[in-house]
């Protein structure tokens, strides 16, 4: 079979997800739209770890749901090997589901309490392929070995495992299908401090060994920066800044990213500095401010910010920013 090579795994183009808000009991009618995602462009390449940061309500999880086919986009498209993921035929859909897997925040909720570890790990394989029993057993053993769990644990139920072990099972499930992209939605926020780093290192090692791509969703900028090759900063359903991790940290352009960096806490009392806390809260996606969506909280806003919405512009190599304040004059990086 002829196969065309693509230099990307997934390409997201102008993706919008709007949820209708309805009123009325019998004759309900739409009274507004919650704009969870409002025009997102993103390309995920092989072996790339894209960190996605932003406050709750910025649309990070909605994006993950669209990629996992749990939510239908209102507009825009997601291309997988050149095809829109929502118009794949059955055969292609199985291949897509094998390619993309997810690990969620709470391993107590994401593992079925009625299935043994073995069944949990083989479930995505059974759905998306027709491997025999022996092959399935081998896959489970290999996946458990890869995540650093004893293969004897295949017979136990999730309640017999600790939080860290459960998250390892969830990771084993995600890699068992030879997946290429794993969506990590806050993979460590439910874990203890000392176990958290073990899981982070496990994920980083797997990424290197298996050549995986990650879409890492998190709100802890320090943790996301530690793991990612690139970072996308989201605000109210849009990406406002995108750059390689080092570039983003050393040459932060968007005022929101600057505020996120300033708000992250010091790692030593000596590094404590006086800084202004960002005023206000993220606006409701039901009522997106006109113009630049960040302008009500922006310390340096100008007139243009209230009237015209900025689009993503390149300010350096692989560095894009959507901000009027930096459109001119910052090309020299």
């Amino acid at each position: 079979m002829e196969k065309k090579e693509f230099d990307y795994l997934l390409r997201i183009k102008n993706l919008k997800v709007h949820f209708p808000v309805k009123a009325g009991i019998i004759f309900d009618h739409v009274i507004g739209w919650v704009k969870a995602l409002d025009g997102v462009d993103l390309t995920i390449k092989p072996s790339q770890v894209i960190g996605m940061v932003g406050e709750s309500g910025s649309g990070k999880t909605t994006l993950a749901k669209v990629l996992l086919l749990l939510e239908k986009p209102t507009k825009g498209e997601v291309l997988f090997e050149g095809k829109e993921i929502h118009s794949l035929d059955d055969w292609e859909l199985k291949a897509y589901r094998r390619t993309i897997q997810a690990v969620f925040q709470d391993p107590f909720a994401s593992l079925s309490p009625r299935l043994r570890v073995q069944e949990i790990i083989t479930e995505p394989l059974k759905v998306s392929s027709n491997l025999g029993k022996e092959e399935l057993d081998n896959r489970v053993g290999e996946a458990l070995h890869r995540v650093g769990l004893d293969t004897g644990l295949r017979r136990v139920y999730p309640h017999e495992l600790s939080g860290g072990q459960r998250q390892r099972v969830a990771i084993a499930r995600a890699i068992s299908t030879d997946s290429k992209i794993i969506i990590l939605d806050e993979p460590t926020s439910a874990l203890d401090v000392s176990v958290r780093l073990q899981v982070v290192h496990l994920l980083m090692d797997l990424q290197k060994d298996l050549g995986l791509s990650y879409l890492l969703i998190g709100h802890d900028l320090a943790m996301v920066a530690y793991m990612s090759t690139d970072i996308a900063v989201m605000y109210l359903g849009k990406i406002v800044e995108f750059a390689e991790t080092k570039e983003l940290l050393s040459n932060t352009v968007h005022p929101y990213t600057q505020a996120l960096m300033a708000a992250s806490l010091p790692d030593h009392p000596r590094n404590k500095r006086e800084r202004a806390a960002l005023s206000g809260e993220i606006a409701s996606p039901l009522n997106v401010p006109p113009g630049c969506r960040f302008h009500p909280r922006c310390p340096g806003k100008k007139n243009i910010c209230q009237g015209q919405e900025p689009s993503l512009m390149a300010v350096g190599k692989n560095h894009w920013v959507a901000c009027h304040l930096n459109n001119a004059g910052s090309q020299d990086c």
Binding site: E55, S56, S162, G164, D192, V193, S194, V195, R196, L197, Q198, V200, H201, H219, D220, L221, A222, M223, A225, Y226, T245, L249, A259, L260, M261, A262, A263, S264, L265, P266, D267, H268, P269, R270, N271, K272, R275, A277, L278, S279, E281, I282
Partner: protein, 325 residues
């Protein structure tokens, strides 16, 4: 200037009993510490190390399976463990207040914001009618909630997470308590809102002189806000020191490991994880509780529990081989 001791906990031991008292979970084991009036103390450690149980023991709000079996909790010189339930009701909320992690759980969804703040005030003060309303508005302004006239009639579900946590804060300070215990008070908030909240707490502390005890596992909060640090592991205090010393020269291997495992934006170099998992409190290892995870542990550590060694003024570590700074 000599500081006054506000809270003195001595030999506090709290156990949980399971399976008809056949299994004992030693949640807090012989814990002693002091808090001076006006201090900002951090209590750090992983979940299950006894931080929250310690707070619940001080306020005497342990679940039915828990019991404080021995020790003393001297608050302003009086032992809270000797007080009757009625006396404790007068202390909780008025002298010692607490902010919990989840503002959706600590606010009642069927009462308005005004009613919930007013409840505490009616319980402990003689404010009624207009002067009560006036005080509620003052409190809302004190936690930087604009338009108190409108907010007072709103319900918890109409507010964002950050706003709800501010309301909980306003209830906690409503009777001007001497001691405010914040149990993971900012864990559920977004980073920008977390910074706003920490600033608010710091301002409140400076304006009212309230003593803050911050229970957290986030070392960033400790660095940002606190003056003294107590590190707990498996129900025991393993190290205590001023905040600078904890970050500069941690004496206990566990403290050192916690610092090595923390993420920081200033430093993206490879971090070192702590091997293993926290121990089961119902069957602790023999000797030092940390020994199975400690890279310095030897036979001595595996056989005998280490004593608490004083290293300097206000500094100690519970370890056979503490690092002397």
């Amino acid at each position: 200037m000599e500081k006054k001791t506000l809270l003195q906990v001595a030999g506090l031991t709290t156990y949980f009993f399971a399976f008809a008292r056949t299994r004992i979970v030693k949640a807090i084991d012989n814990v002693s510490f002091e808090v001076n009036a006006g201090d900002r103390l951090a209590l750090i450690g992983e979940s299950g190390c006894g931080k929250s149980t310690l707070a619940a023991s001080i306020l005497r709000v342990l679940p039915p399976s828990g019991e404080t079996v021995s020790g003393k909790i001297l608050f302003e010189g009086e032992d809270l463990l000797q007080k009757s339930n009625k006396e404790m009701t007068r202390i909780r909320g008025r002298k010692i207040a607490m902010i919990l992690q989840d503002p959706m759980m600590s606010l009642d969804p069927v009462f308005t914001i005004g009613e919930q703040i007013g409840e505490t005030l009616e319980q402990h003060t003689r404010l009624r009618g207009d002067s009560l309303i006036q005080r509620i508005k003052e409190l809302l302004l004190a936690v930087q909630i604009p338009e108190p006239e409108r907010r007072i009639h709103q319900w918890p579900h109409e507010m964002s997470g950050g706003m709800r946590q501010r309301i909980v804060g306003s209830i906690a300070i409503s009777c001007e308590p001497q001691l405010l215990i914040c149990d993971e008070a900012t864990t559920n908030l977004d980073v920008t809102i977390q910074l706003q909240y920490l600033k608010l707490l710091k301002d409140l502390q400076q304006n009212t002189g309230v003593t803050l005890v911050f229970i957290t596992h986030n070392l960033g909060i400790v660095a940002e806000l606190c003056e003294y640090v107590i590190v707990m592991y498996a129900g025991k205090i393993v190290e205590r020191a001023p905040v600078m010393d904890i970050f500069d020269s941690p004496a206990h291997p566990y403290t050192r490991a916690l610092l090595d495992a923390a993420f920081g934006l200033q430093d993206l170099r490879k971090r070192r994880p702590i091997p293993g998992e926290p121990p089961n409190l119902a069957s602790l290892p023999l000797g030092c509780s940390f020994n199975p995870r400690c890279k310095y542990a030897d036979d001595h550590c595996r056989k005998e529990e280490p004593p608490e060694v004083t290293l300097a003024a206000a500094r100690s570590a519970k370890c056979w081989y503490p690092v002397r700074g």
